[in-house]
């Protein structure tokens, strides 16, 4: 396949008059365009913009299905620590949100256990360590099964457990539980003769730094607790939400952050400092943006990123927040997130500049295949 680009944003560079050569689902080459489409398998985007497929590292697509039955599918409420569970085992591939994603240029999503931020309650329904998350292309291709383990700090697990008459019920208790399971897993890892323990087995890749621990933390103190935990156990963490990150920017230079959703109600004390205009203050940190779909529907990921334009981000910086930064933080930056030779051909053809509300997605290409094309 050949994609003739009008304007190409890689997003590191802005190029004009080039074509992307796609072979076996990968970007094989980027060459100067010839005058006319010379192949049958050619996407003529010569009057359009071409950008990398968007990446949202923090969604609950397929776990909380749109128009689906109500109920909790994101965590096992019978236990506070369930690192052995994996979202793949409860995921509905027919969730229409996959199509919403394709139609709006989102090609890769991280899918997490736990819950989403629901407007209707002060408490996000989540246990301390609900399980493993996965990474999917929105063509439903699973690209990482056990991509990370999620855990949650602060008011949400604390209150949810307390509502359910479960323990622990304090921040101290939550940290103690997490430390305890990590310590057990450290010992387990060194003793090959021990009986198989699925929970501890699941944690080994975190201890070996093969996968990150993704830590749901909103407040300053929970962010700092997560940082301490990472230092104590020498593990990789990703901060999710990080609502108060702007208050301790200097402390967070080396920690990747999945930030947001930046448009949400300041519901409850934990979110009292939530504000999309904090973007200008977290600029410079290693971060990307998220919808936390279904909190904000996945199709509006780019509009959220567009808000950064009014907070002093350039077009390329804004685009990076939902492409290369997101892919890199997910650990798949060598595979997708930018338009470079050797990467997956995940491309979006836009009618005009990205982020303009009247810009339309003309077509979405995932793994070198056109997955969605506008009727217009």
């Amino acid at each position: 396949m050949k994609v003739m680009c009008g304007t190409l944003l890689t997003p590191k560079e802005q190029l004009k008059g080039v074509s992307i050569i796609v072979e076996d689902g990968k970007i094989k080459d980027i060459v100067p365009s010839t005058a006319l489409p010379d192949e049958s398998d050619c996407v003529d985007a010569s009057s359009y913009w071409v950008v990398p497929g968007f990446v949202d590292p923090h969604t609950h697509i397929g776990i909380y299905r749109l128009e689906g039955e109500s109920g909790d599918h994101g965590f096992e409420a019978s236990d506070t620590l369930t690192p052995q569970l994996n979202v793949v085992d409860g995921l509905d591939p027919f969730d229409p949100a996959f199509d919403d994603a394709l139609q709006s240029g989102v090609t890769t999503v991280g899918i997490l256990p736990g819950s989403y931020m629901s407007f209707g309650s002060s408490v996000e329904r989540i246990t301390i360590m609900p399980g493993q998350g996965a990474i999917y292309k929105t063509n439903r291709r699973l690209i990482r099964r056990s991509a990370f383990i999620k855990c949650a700090l602060g008011e949400h697990p604390k209150r949810f457990l307390s509502e359910r008459k479960m323990v622990p019920t304090t921040r101290m208790g939550i940290m103690a539980e997490i430390r305890s399971i990590l310590l057990q897993a450290q010992r387990y890892m060194k003793n090959p003769n021990e009986k198989i323990n699925p929970k501890l087995e699941a944690i080994i890749p975190v201890l070996k730094k093969e996968i990150p621990l993704r830590v749901h933390a909103h407040t300053l103190r929970d962010i700092l607790a997560a940082k301490k935990l990472a230092e104590e156990f020498d593990i990789r963490i990703i901060l999710d939400h990080a609502t108060e990150a702007h208050l301790i920017k200097e402390e967070l230079r080396d920690i990747p952050i999945v930030y947001g959703p930046i448009v949400f109600s300041r519901r409850g004390v934990e979110l009292k400092n939530l504000d999309s205009s904090n973007l200008s203050q977290v600029k410079g940190l290693d971060f990307c943006l998220t919808t936390d779909h279904p909190t904000i529907p996945i199709q509006y990921l780019d509009l959220l990123a567009g808000l950064s334009l009014s907070e002093g981000f350039s077009l390329q910086e804004a685009l990076s927040l939902i492409t290369i930064n997101a892919a890199r933080i997910l650990g798949i930056g060598d595979q997708t997130g930018s338009i470079e030779i050797g990467k997956d051909a995940d491309l979006v053809v836009l009618s005009n500049r990205p982020f303009e509300p009247d810009t339309k997605v003309i077509c979405t290409i995932v793994d070198g295949q056109v997955q969605w094309r506008s009727q217009v």
Partner: protein, 375 residues
Amino acid sequence: MIAIAGGTVWTGFEVIEDGLILVKDGKISYAGKRKRFDSRYKVIDAKGKFVCPGFVDAHSHIGLIPEGLDWEYSDVNDFSGPITPQMRAIDAIDFFDKAFSDAISGGVTTVYTGPGSANVIGGVGLITKTTGRVLVEQAALKMALGPKGIREYKSKESYPTTRMGTVALLRNTFLEVKKWMEDPKELDESKKIQYELISKVLKREMMAKIHLSTSPDEINAVLDIIKEFNLDATIDHVFAGDLLAERIKESGVPVVYGPAMISKLYSAFRYVSDAIPVKLCHAGVLVALMTDHPVIPQKHLRLLGSVVVRNGLSYDETLKMITINPAKMLKIDDKVGSISPNKDADILIFSDHPLKVSSRLLIAIVDGEVVFQQP
């Protein structure tokens, strides 16, 4: 006295290039082409900028659900019973809530705020400037459709548990009040307060704001009730409005869509589509947008406008949905919602068209005072 000189002035009715707006005593005294003016005016240079009226949010709960606190601090839903017209937003509103200054930083200068949707008749909402100046203390009686469920609270009357039950209770209440209006019998004081408020709506002295229209049957039912009792009403949310666009158009009833940008997660929201305001507008219905603050923070009203543009409406038609259209349906278009002589000087200066996400609010003026300036 302020003169806003130059720029593209979008008045709500027309676009004036290189315009001039003169503000005197909190009101607009002139809006039109650039002309000579008195040197006593303080000049704000709007050259290269986009000037438009302050935004109006037709449906929110600002000041009634506080920012940064939990639900136990919320004052929108009182479970005293399914019919509570006596609940008044003015008795609970906190004008010092952070959301007000935030709303101003997003260009929202006038809002409707009122009780929530837990009851069939929830109470009386008000219209205020986000600076705290109340425009209409008793603006609309809020009603809400949908099943109300079985509440844990012990109220004197039980709550309807089906859509049919809610509509039947609403209709019975109106019929009873109508009978009382024709033959005013002695009522105990608490009942009398209720009946008097409902009778205002039946006499069209107060507007009805009918919420939670989330499915075609609910919109049909609400249109029937509006017709049967000849109400001066708006239908709010209209999550299946596109399916009944023709009927809504024929009824002449204005609608408030939204909030946009919410997901179809709950089965009750299966008809949600942010293309609804586009289709209703094309059908000729008067449409406004809502944030339903705090569902979407009020300052993001214009972002919801961008969402509607994304779904296919023009920038300028969409801008009307957060300015002149809500002003018309809230019956305050003689004061706000457009830039024309004798209206309140609620004026925004943006770096670009406000529905472009990259646009920045530079200056906000309410009642002739600069209340926000980009630092």
